[in-house]
């Protein structure tokens, strides 16, 4: 009862924040001068001068090139930090340099907004690495995603593309940095540590020794959630009491994760000059979200039948891998939020969820359209929207149009390519892993397949949560998921920018009575149908072999 009410209030808060945040985003990236320039202009001009940047508008190719090259430079810088952290300052716990293949994986993981972690934060990274490598990337990675989304939306709206570095800097100065800074301090007030002191040594009540790892956690935590990054300071992420001390910090984390992804549809509606275009996408995604949440809550409310049969009071539901302060409802909600927003933070162990409870995060990542991550989520949603328009066009035998531009062969080829890449990145390596490296899988039976499937789905969708029982710090997993994360991120960004560039260059066709409207409830239904049909056709067989088979075999 209380749980239901608390979830309803959480979702209501998300709803209340989404529209104002979306309008703010629209203003923050405006190509025209706005009042925000007075506040942020001086700092931004200083950064442009230090960075040697001359603002202006770029072609889609120049924009994409700047995105890829700058991200590449950042990858090299951070890789260098990981490989030399033992020699660098701020390493009070004496942590060694990171092994090359693990550093390869970790660097790509954070640059691509995935934050898959094959190391453990407490023992694998110095405080300096946490700060100038991890936190740095936690800012620039979602900033890059936001840039891509803004450029894509401008292209669809037939506006100039903008300038990558200007968008990048604005993402940080106007959106990510101010919000993260305030929230970091709020998190400290709730109990999250923020210190450069080494681990504390405690003498326990029973007379044992306890070493308590801590560090600059709060500043990392704020941007981890706001930027849909998801990588934790601590190994168990937001299940760790230092990284999520109570239900209020838990609530704030969920609001932060959903802030940008739910705001973007409204920014999009404003940008294309028709708020209904954004609203219909928002409502469609919210429907998917509610359905997923319902399945997850129902599944997790049930205790493991085999354990319940031993005679315990099983009223709490599936408690293995969950924290007492969150219980089942807040854990299930968090798992849906973190995968819908492609964040990847966890406050409970998805590996130990009931099979169907664990399938929901997996499906969220496979569909990758239930809001989705910073910027790229909306791009993926618009990809499906374009697909839906195309399919509708085929059915009535008319050249499909989107926002007054004709969708033709070139765009549809790019879209089809993008749609094919993700399942290829998930299913092929999963099959390879099951065949060649079954020894890295920790749980027997059908669940083992789900573990491998989850890892590659999470990588390809740039989510970063995991079924963490997987023995994933091996050369195979480090290299394979590294490549999957890289391609999962950049292929779709480039192809979709190309689509936007191509559409922007076309002449607008006048709207007629025969135009298929993309701002109506009908379109919302077609959009949802497209998402579900494409998703089901692609992934249903693997879900049957994994979580569904496991659920059917659970017996008391």
């Amino acid at each position: 009862m209380m749980a239901g009410l608390s979830i309803a209030i959480t979702l209501l808060l998300v709803l209340l924040l989404a529209k104002p945040a979306g309008l703010y985003l629209y203003r923050a990236y405006s190509l025209e001068p706005t009042g925000l320039d007075r506040v942020f202009g001086p700092a931004e001009r200083l950064i442009y001068r230090l960075g040697g940047i001359r603002p202006g508008s770029q072609s889609w190719k120049a924009y994409a090139a700047a995105l890829i090259v700058s991200n590449g430079v950042m990858l090299l810088l951070v890789y260098a930090v990981f490989r030399t952290q033992a020699y660098l300052p701020l390493n009070p716990s004496g942590i060694a340099n990171m092994e090359p293949r693990l550093a390869f994986n970790t660097t790509i993981s954070f640059m691509t907004n995935t934050n898959l972690q094959h190391y453990s934060g407490e023992s694998g990274l110095s405080y300096l690495s946490q700060m100038i490598a991890i936190v740095f990337m936690m800012f620039v990675s979602p900033a890059t995603g936001l840039c891509a989304a803004m450029a894509f939306m401008r292209g669809l709206a037939g506006k100039p593309m903008g300038h990558f570095f200007v968008d990048l800097v604005r993402s940080i100065t106007r959106v990510l940095l101010p919000i993260a800074f305030v929230l970091a301090l709020v998190f400290v007030a709730l109990g999250v540590p923020q210190t450069l002191e080494p681990s504390a040594a405690a003498q326990t009540l029973e007379g044992g020794e306890q070493t308590i790892a801590r560090g600059p956690v709060a500043s990392l935590l704020a941007i981890k959630e706001l930027g849909n990054n998801g990588g934790g300071h601590m190994g168990v992420n937001s299940a760790h009491p230092f990284e999520n001390p109570d239900a209020i910090s838990n609530l704030l984390q969920m609001l932060l994760m959903l802030l940008v992804p739910t705001a973007l549809p409204f920014a999009y509606g404003k940008l294309v000059g028709n708020p209904k275009q954004g609203r219909v996408l928002f409502v469609s995604m919210a429907l998917l979200f509610v359905v997923m949440l319902g399945v997850s809550l129902t599944a997790e409310q049930e205790a493991n039948p085999a354990i319940a049969a031993l005679g315990y009071d099983s009223g709490q539901g599936s408690m293995e891998g969950k924290e007492t302060r969150f219980g089942v409802p807040q854990s299930a909600l968090y798992s849906v939020v973190t995968t819908a927003s492609e964040t990847g933070a966890v406050n409970s162990m998805h590996d130990s969820f009931t099979p169907l409870g664990g399938m929901v995060p997996l499906m969220n990542m496979m569909l990758n359209t239930v809001f989705g991550g910073s910027g790229v989520g909306l791009m993926n949603v618009l990809l499906y929207a374009l697909m839906a328009v195309f399919l509708s066009g085929l059915m009535v035998g008319r050249t499909p149009e989107f926002l007054g531009k004709k969708l033709e062969g070139r765009e549809m080829k790019l879209i089809a390519l993008t749609l094919l890449v993700q399942p290829a990145l998930i299913l092929l390596p999963t099959a390879a892993a099951l065949y060649a490296y079954p020894d890295t899988i920790s749980n027997p039976g059908y669940h083992g397949l789900t573990q491998a499937l989850y890892e590659f789905t999470s990588s390809a969708a740039n989510n970063g949560s995991g079924f963490e029982g997987l023995g994933d710090n091996t050369p195979f997993w480090n290299l394979s998921t590294g490549i999957v994360m890289y391609l999962g991120r950049y292929v779709s960004i480039i192809t979709l920018l190309a689509v936007a560039g191509s559409l922007a260059a076309k002449k607008a066709v006048p709207e007629t009575i025969g135009t298929f409207r993309t701002d109506s409830a009908t379109f919302g239904a077609v959009f949802l149908g497209t998402v579900l049909i494409v998703g089901a056709l692609t992934y249903f067989p693997s879900l049957v072999l994994g979580p569904i088979a496991e659920q059917l075999t659970l017996k008391p």
Partner: protein, 189 residues
């Protein structure tokens, strides 16, 4: 080449801003305004650290209230769980063993009153809390081991029960370390 150079320059500037300035400013303000919280909410007694309010620790003797199962033995230099799938036979084996252990240590309390948080591994392996019911079912054992009357222990548990946040969010909890610190004080009276 020009793109590469400006990429490098802007990356270094942003690394300085987001990596160094942001983190150090947050650390400085947090340490000045909220030193206890920012340093890990440590509990000190006579200048010695006995633990953190937020981090659980191992209790095995019958005279203490016990926390949740931890496959890492509450070693807080790390964190982790066994990540058992619900179908994992090892999980069932552990749950069976927990049932036997419970019956041996708490002959007066039937399994049907034992909530699942007492026999499952937490997410972090460091969970500082148990449910209020999880504390109450341990009262007969703790009372027998310490000689403190059950009624007094019930009051103690009541006092250390934290409600849902804002009356709504999360679950009611009992912080095991703080409860045991209070228990020790009660026992020394």
């Amino acid at each position: 080449m020009q793109l590469f150079a400006s990429s490098l320059r802007i990356s270094l500037v942003l690394m300085l801003l987001c990596g160094v300035v942001y983190n150090l400013a947050a650390t400085g303000i947090a340490q000045t305004l909220m030193p206890h919280r920012a340093s890990g909410s440590l509990i000190e007694e006579d200048g010695r650290i006995v633990g953190s309010e937020l981090i659980g620790q191992t209790f095995t003797e019958p005279r203490w209230f016990h926390g949740r199962l931890s496959s890492i033995g509450y070693a807080a230099d790390g964190s982790g769980t066994p990540n058992y799938a619900p179908s994992n036979p090892d999980l069932l084996e552990r749950a069976r063993q927990s049932a036997l252990d419970w019956q041996a240590a708490n002959p007066d309390v039937p399994l049907s009153e034992v909530p699942l948080d007492l026999v499952t591994n937490s997410g972090s392996g460091l969970d500082p809390d148990i449910s209020p019911q999880g504390a109450r079912v341990q009262i007969p054992r703790v009372s027998a081991a310490t000689g403190i009357p059950q009624a007094e222990l019930e009051q103690l548990v009541e006092r250390h029960t934290a409600p849902r946040r804002l009356g709504l969010f999360g679950e009611p909890t009992v912080n095991v370390l703080e409860l045991n610190l209070a228990l020790r004080e009660a026992a020394s009276k």
